[in-house]
Subunit: 379 residues, 2 copies
DNA sequence: GTTTTCTCTGAATCCGCAC
DNA sequence: TGTGCGGATTCAGAGAAAA
């Protein structure tokens, strides 16, 4: 079993000795300006930066909806810059510091809108960062353009960049493909804006932060470009979405935030967050870094009993598990992949994600059983 | 009544005398480098620029480094700084020339990918252009990422910018809303890439141009931001998608293209293109472009009689119509708009849709009476 | 309890002519 | 160049309130 453990270990190149995590302020929100705060961190100590900097919106007067109600705009001091030059300097400063604290094979994400993202992108390139993708967050429910003067501004842009052209950044290709129903994950992601129960409120019931990002966005970012145990730094921590999702996904986090109010809200929020258990995380592992597991071995181990019923998500087909790890559905018999493929008349089928089973009243893909198997194999 | 008809014509401001179109090389493809070619055009002569600049750094042999030294683009081994600086200079040059030939209320579109669009966007802002939207072209059928190393690069970005913050760019809001099934057109557009019969082939059957854009994209751009008769300039004409769609939509066009092969293909293509007839070109017009009608004129015409009662939809307020077109509600008197605004204590009010009247037992907004007035005026 | 209607709100560079 | 004012302009989703 020792061999499985070895194979399973995250396949991160450790060419660079790295910093002892004990020397890092993990799970802490550093106070003050983010550039000053980051100076306290050692070189090459962080696996990923996620940054949601001020957008430098340059708003005119008030704006009303057609029904006369007033739009609550982002007019906070932290978003005010007197010129592009000042914004550029600010951007260059924090990006430079991020570059220093990032490991050579680390990566950086920045989110922005057309107001700032072109400046950020150009500066990023000037500093030597290498853009890997620009990703579009399509909002299902953007604020309309109330005056009918432009296209509805229905998206924001994320930049994903490595330290340089040759750096060996980390990308969980398989996890993304699985998440996207066995199609390659595209550069356009569709999520609603953060509202409802997820939107943090202050004591008076007002939104705690004007620009809180949806957790689903961070979830995908962290799942795609980090492994459990990695250190994620967020220089503009706000109300701590990055920290909350990092904790849930078993990643370490460090935040920087100037405003005491936001820090307080973030601490309370993250305190409540519960990490997912390891089996749930295991299903998200990249296939490349996992040993191949035969379905038969899972059956053999008793995680799915011979005779058990498995079914596709929509329960259009049911199949019976046989002792040798083959499955049977009417006249079709064979491997989980072959039967799934033939039933759907599809060119191929990933049986691990196609077939599901019930475990304690819950429907799970049989991939979860494989996760449990691997977990057990580690001991 | 001819006067009303005249007022109805599209309301383009001609504050600036403008250039006689006869002095422009309409329907021509200018040869040579686009900056040199554009120098032949007069100032403020073009309504719209659509540009699809190259984003690789192989720009040809006629470029110089910022220090003036000559560069052989194909063989020179640039460092990253040099190549970005060179690309920036190139970008600044052609954008500056576009800015000169554009009318003060003209606008510019640029399309690009993450390789170049951040540089273009930042330079555009530095030159004084005012970004109106960034628009994402989502490809329904992008090329997959074969090596599984990144997200599928499934989109390109268009920037739409006016000459400056205060400039009065043109936007066919109603036409876009109609095109999008009566919902505001969003900043993300979904089209397939250019392929099949639309993709131009050379004599050997190979694609004539590596980055031919789909006509649907240009169709939407031109429909959204130009009127029939407007002059559209494309500094990187390629195989002439802009020209073909412009001709079809009854817009004038000017192209610049260095490569004789592309010019030849473009000419042949545009030659075959047929303009839509005028009735097909008609688009939904905004209320803004309709003639202004005084409420008094509606009263005068007898469509609403002095002394008649008007009320808001929920009948919270009632007002009396007076002979001069003012209305009275308790202590409030004045225009339909001012009284509606004051009663609701709102920042503004459109009296035409706020106030209602009864006509044959039916409740209608007084806007319906305006409609009748305009209908009568057309005869 | 259930269904329907109303109300509120979200990173927004959000008017233009006449005087 | 500023000021006044006519009047054009909104989508999805959550939650509360009403039916």
């Amino acid at each position: 079993m020792g061999e499985l453990t070895k194979i399973r270990a995250p396949k991160r190149k450790t060419k660079h000795a790295g910093v002892d995590k004990a020397d890092l302020p993990l799970g802490q929100i550093l106070t003050g300006d983010c550039v000053a705060a980051m100076r306290k961190l050692p070189d090459a100590s962080v696996d990923l930066v996620f940054a949601d900097p001020p957008y430098n919106l340059q708003l005119g007067g008030d704006l009303n909806r057609p029904d006369g109600s007033h739009v609550d705009a982002v007019t906070d001091d932290w978003d005010q810059f007197d010129s592009f030059a000042l914004y550029d300097k600010f951007t260059k400063d924090w990006l430079t510091e991020c570059r220093r604290v990032l490991k050579p094979d680390g990566a950086l994400w920045v989110i922005g809108s057309y107001h700032n993202i072109y400046r950020v992108g150009a500066i990023l390139q000037d500093l030597g960062f290498w853009i890997l993708n620009d990703v579009v967050w399509r909002k299902t429910n953007p604020m309309p353009n109330f005056r009918g003067t432009r296209f509805t501004n229905a998206h924001e842009t994320l930049l994903w960049a490595s330290q340089g052209e040759k750096s060996r950044y980390h990308f969980n290709y398989r996890a993304m493909k699985t998440l996207n129903d066995e199609l390659q994950m595209r550069s356009d992601w569709t999520f609603p804006i953060c509202s409802g129960g997820e939107r943090l409120k202050d004591d008076a019931g007002h939104k705690a932060h004007p620009t809180q990002k949806p957790e689903a966005l961070l979830y995908r970012v962290l799942l795609a470009t980090t492994e459990a145990g990695d250190v994620v730094l967020d220089p503009f921590f706000g109300t701590g979405t990055t920290g909350a999702v990092a904790k849930r996904l078993g990643r370490e986090w460090i935040g920087c935030e100037r405003e005491a109010v936001y820090r307080k809200v973030a601490h309370a929020r993250i305190e409540k967050e519960l990490p997912l258990d390891e089996s749930a995380l295991a299903t998200m592992q990249s296939r490349k870094s996992q040993p191949r597991v035969a379905f038969g071995a899972v059956v053999e181990a008793g995680l799915l009993k011979p005779g058990a019923e498995i079914f596709d998500k929509k329960r259009r087909w049911k199949a019976k598990v046989r002792a040798d790890g083959s499955v049977e559905c009417g006249k079709e018999t064979g491997s989980i992949h072959a039967v799934g493929k033939n039933l759907q008349n599809a060119p191929s089928c990933n049986g691990w994600t196609f077939w599901h089973y019930e475990d304690g009243g819950e429907v799970k893909p049989i991939d979860a059983a494989r996760g449990l198997y691997l977990l057990a194999a580690e001991d």
